[in-house]
């Protein structure tokens, strides 16, 4: 076997990757061929130099962290067919009403704010009735907030009110009118609070509250965001919750 024909196999021999039959063929040749012996030796030294000098690289920590976040953001069932145990009572109450709650579309008789209030309540009821409360279920602000990145054209504030007795349950995408909004879900005992937020160029406005179809609704504008909180929770506590939201938004945390 000529040296040229064996050239590739010399590499395989050096790397210990040859079949035994080929190993024998190479060794027979090397016993009589000084040139190929020298070639193998040079290649062995080159290989060792590369192995020693070019160690594998470490991926930068920020890259690793971004990937972890990306993995987490992929974890969302398309639609959940259940509500958490704590919200079961609220959901049952909605189901128990006349089946097929319909949003009355008497837009001509009411002003835009009332229409929006009706839509907010409809969104709240739908989230319970369809058992689609959250796309991302977590009580961690650090998990919920980044989940919205890439899914909304704005970054919603996701305040943490657990210390005040209004723990976060998660978030989802929702629609009000033509606009895609963030829906943040909070708890108060067994009550579900849906907090809808979206950016607004309107000036800051004090919260206004209303009652719609037996649900309480509080809304306002602060820190560049319009917020609507809706719940079957009593008006006083929902107002307290809304005040926390307004303070948080005023505090400049919006978009952070």
């Amino acid at each position: 076997m000529s040296c040229d024909a064996l050239s590739d196999k010399l590499t395989g021999y050096l790397d210990g990757e040859l079949a035994p039959r080929d190993v024998e063929e190479v060794e027979v040749h090397l016993r009589r061929c000084v040139t190929c012996g020298a070639r193998v030796e040079r290649e062995r030294r080159l290989r060792r130099a590369v192995q020693t000098e070019l160690t594998p690289l470490q991926a930068p920590e920020p890259l690793r962290a971004r990937l972890r976040t990306a993995i987490q953001s992929e974890v969302t069932p398309a639609r959940r067919r259940w509500v958490p145990a704590w919200a079961a009572a609220a959901a049952a109450l909605v189901i128990g009403l006349a089946g097929g709650w319909r949003l009355a579309s008497r837009q001509g008789e009411r002003g835009p704010a009332s229409t929006l209030a009706m839509e907010v309540v409809a969104g709240h009821v739908r989230s319970l009735q369809e058992r689609h409360l959250t796309d991302i279920e977590s009580s961690e602000h650090h998990t919920v907030k980044p989940w919205f990145a890439g899914r909304l054209d704005f970054s919603p504030p996701v305040p943490d009110f657990a210390a005040r007795g209004y723990p976060l349950a998660g978030g989802r995408l929702d629609y009000l009118g033509e606009r895609q909004v963030a829906a943040l879900v909070y708890r108060r005992r067994q009550h579900v609070i849906n907090l809808f937020v979206w950016p607004s160029a309107a000036p800051a406005a004090a919260a206004s509250s209303a009652s719609e179809r037996g649900y309480h609704v509080v809304s306002g504008t602060a820190g560049g965001m319009t917020y609507w909180a809706v719940s079957d929770l009593n008006a006083a506590e929902l107002g307290q919750f809304a005040q926390l939201v307004a303070n948080e938004l005023h505090g400049g945390s919006a978009g952070s």
Binding site: E17, R42, R47, L63, S73, G150
Partner: protein, 191 residues
Amino acid sequence: MEPLNAIAGNSRSRGGVLDAATAARFEQTALPHLDAAYTLARHLLRNEQDAEDAVQEAFLRAIRHFDGYRGGDMRAWVLTIVRRSCYTWLRRHRGERETTEFDETIHHAPAAVEDPEAQALHGALREALAQAIAELPVEFREVVVLRDVQGLSYGEIAEVVGIPIGTVMSRLSRARQRLQRALPIEDYRRN
């Protein structure tokens, strides 16, 4: 490369593709090969930022195909996807980076040497080797990196690159010949 957020957001209207258990399994089995993935991407693309983008895109692709992954060598699977992302990038930017870019970090990868004089010698050798490898045509470069930097077997390299084992061997042989012509043998000797 698309930014990470755009990749994550635009493939479906609502919700994700994994349950929590699968995501955890992915993190446990695939993420350990991030360093290997990054190493390959850095050598193929010769640029830190491009390599990061390619690795991000590759891992997102890997997540979405994870349900279809039926076992086998996870490292090889990850590297296959990363290599494909890198080649996509290379095709897209053909001609933009014709000259070898001097990738500082590859040339100054840490080495466990205490003697400063030996360190200087090591540094020069490392730079020379890194430069020679960076100048190899990509199909030669990748087999050298996969074998001599990352220690994959011929069989694993064949799987990642998608060529027969015999071709791995001949390509590696020719790649090492080219490196030797670029760096005369005296340079490998250490005092």
